[in-house]
Subunit: 151 residues, 8 copies
């Protein structure tokens, strides 16, 4: 990859409005991305195909899921790319179920978990990680940090 | 299958002592089983191969996992067999993480969740389910229920 | 029983709209069912009569209850049929109370617990279990799984 | 009943050491009691028989149970006697499951819930309730309160 | 007291609509009551005066409080009457704070805790307790139980 | 008061080893204190007498309690002195019950809550508060902060 | 400082309406204050500059923050002034996250934590603390307490 | 930096045995690291100096802290490097407090949170991130993943 590129995946179309916040922030950093909807439970073939082919297409992965949120961990199980996980808020357990299901990964297969519904934070973390390979992002991150401080 | 047969899967060798309780109870009911160790995160190929071939080998599945316990749900995503999930106790969140990760499945892909560390209950539920197909189990279940009441 | 038949029971009339989702899904699978309203606490005679006579009428049971959700466990105590429990969301503890009261069954008397408010999942699990005895359901479940994946 | 009499019931023999603390306190108040072991799930006939015949034998009931602690509520469903419920501590959820399963009773069927593992408190509450009918207990309760204050 | 009489106390005027449900149920049972608003924290003199004089005026006490719900326990500390505690729902912790603050009483000073926002259940429990002294309530409780079952 | 003086109160003798850590830290700051054991539930007269007379004897109060930890709030209800509350760890709910019961005070009656089992922190907070009146403590607090940093 | 003066800090402009309740109460006590918006995470330089210069400007600090509420603790790390922390309610975890992040401070660096969203309580606690140095506040606090009791 | 280099920081010397697991795993990947002990609360100058100078010395940061675990977030506030946060288990709240304090970061300042006590996972995530810049790590990660699967 010549340009920083993120693979975004979520378990349900209902997660897309949340992921728009990640997309918008990636746009601001000039980072490319592609969004895939594939569930670890309902369309696992798709999710696994996404994960297995990710290394050729993407620098890293952002995965969002709610409730028994297996998707980020399952994707992490099939790739060596860093996987950022977003626990999605839901009615009954308020995202606590998704948080536990995403962050409590077993030894050897981490998911970089961010705030419940933290789509923007997922994008910022993606930019920070990508800046190791694409140093031009460092200046953008510093400008972003200044803007944050100025708010 | 001529005889009732259960596929048992767990994410880690450390879960095997817990699953012995399920195995022992299945033995008492005269139900065959085979135990596979395969993690949804560390050895996903194995776990998925298990799930995909399960319908030919087993009548139903018992899956145990702790923490971000994706295994029961992932197996359920790849088969139409009933999947019984056992949330495994662990040090920090005491099995509450596994309970949430197993029971809070999205619409369309259920896991039949039992008690935290409820290996024996998984076996009894398996026998109840198998008794639909193998009516000889009904008498055994009634005897078992009488024994329970007599304790 | 010549046809797959499910006994559905809930503790309160207020649970009926939730159970409609289960009923609708059972209809799609061509599974018969009958709904009974009986509370383990307010109309226990009815609930126990339901449970004791269930084996003659039904292949399995779906039981929904909220708060101190004793109904699924009490029914399970009086029958050897598989009992699927649905924890119902409520205002204060959001269904966490019902989840604990349904899933944490003692050794020997399992309840196959599904998602909080997971009426549709209860129906799918019912179909999976029934398919052991009624193999014609296997094809329907495979079609259903394909539809899920296609969403 | 001429003398204050309490029916004590617990779901499992493993609860008996806890109930000894209630018994000892009832002894100190000169209150009679009988202990029955009967599970709402494993020996429901026994539990219901206990509850149905309680009004003739006892002034009130103390019921202890752990995990999916249905026993106090089930007993309360079959009697108009006051039922005091003791949530029992257990390994995974530390008695929080039992607390929710006992206290969150639906409208119309209360259980007077005490502290997790609060067997002594159940006995004191029993004495307070019994003192409405047996006024000689009032003096004993006042002495008890003085002793508490003096500790 | 010739007639059954309940002292009702709550920590804040905002609890009065909830207590109306208790009052209405007590009315149906023909039980007298008086409502006092006094906070263990804001108007402790009043709350303690209520508790100290309760034995002369009331057969038992119903106390409702939210958040750091000390009122039921504080009242119980100053009287030998049975104290029924109602944990009140509030915005942040949904009544879980009040539940813990009411039910987890130390050894020797019980509070008979009911459902979160369980004002009606408090009234039913009151009637059950009062029926020990006022046997005419037993018939009313049996009729009430029949009505419940008939719903 | 010429010298900084703290009134320490706890609900049970079993809390004394914990309060030794507070006492030791107050000693290091040269702050006087007196420890009283009085329970808001078991010996409320004592606790209230302590609170009512506190303004004449002490500059501020440290109150420790576990479970339904009413003591800090009750003391705060009877005095205008600042009250520092220490939630005490206990077996079942691990101090979470005490934390909720101490921190979730209603509007108008705050308790300055510190860490679960945070006796040393209570003493440091006491010194910080006392330093407003006794400026010699400022230097000691700065030295203490340097020592902390040097650890 | 000749007059009692409080430094108020919050992590986000969205916290200002909540802090108005604290400000209004400080006004009623005749206590001066200045509000600063500075985040421990987004504008840490500002937050640390606030904390380091606080001793010269303020008698004590009120700090409000939500979610991973580091601000009160970070401010406490840079000053010997008493720091009152207000955990702010938010959508997913309802302020429980902020409560844990504020109250569970390590040994040596306390934050005086008040009720979730307890801005008014923070102001009352501030007045209580300030009354050690500014005795004229004692009368105002007594009048305030009388008003509370009269409500 | 010519070689992949990680800055590891923890809040307390008591966290060092946990971090040894991260160090050992980084060693296996051939990744350099330096461990600093600095608390966001007790030695904030040190922690901030670490964070401010990190960009020159390190490719990314691993930060571990328990209880009111501000350290990872505070470090993230002062650098644009990716920060991996490890919530540390502790006695009362079992690491749930640290998890909330680390993962629930506000918009704009993410921390890549891993499993409670997940030191090894922090190291694996570090290697995954570093592999964007140091492609030689990709092969090591693939070998590691194969070893995991083979266990």
């Amino acid at each position: 990859m010549k340009k920083p590129t993120v693979g975004i995946i979520c378990g349900s179309k209902s997660d897309l409005p949340l992921l728009d916040k990640a997309a918008k922030q990636l746009d601001e950093f000039g980072i490319s991305y592609k969004v895939t909807v594939a569930s670890a439970h309902r369309s696992p073939e798709l999710a696994i195909a996404f994960a297995k082919s990710a290394e050729k297409k993407y620098d890293l992965i952002i995965a969002a899921a709610g409730m028994a949120a297996a998707l980020p961990g399952v994707v992490a199980g099939h790739t060596i790319l860093p996987v950022i996980g977003i626990p999605v808020f839901s009615k009954a357990l308020k995202g606590l179920d998704a948080l536990f299901a995403i962050v409590q990964m077993p030894s050897g297969v981490p998911v970089a978990t961010v705030t419940i519904d933290g789509a923007k934070n997922a994008a910022v973390l993606a930019a920070q990680i990508l800046s190791l390979k694409y140093p031009q992002l460092k200046k953008k991150l510093k400008d972003f940090k200044k803007q944050l401080a100025g708010k």
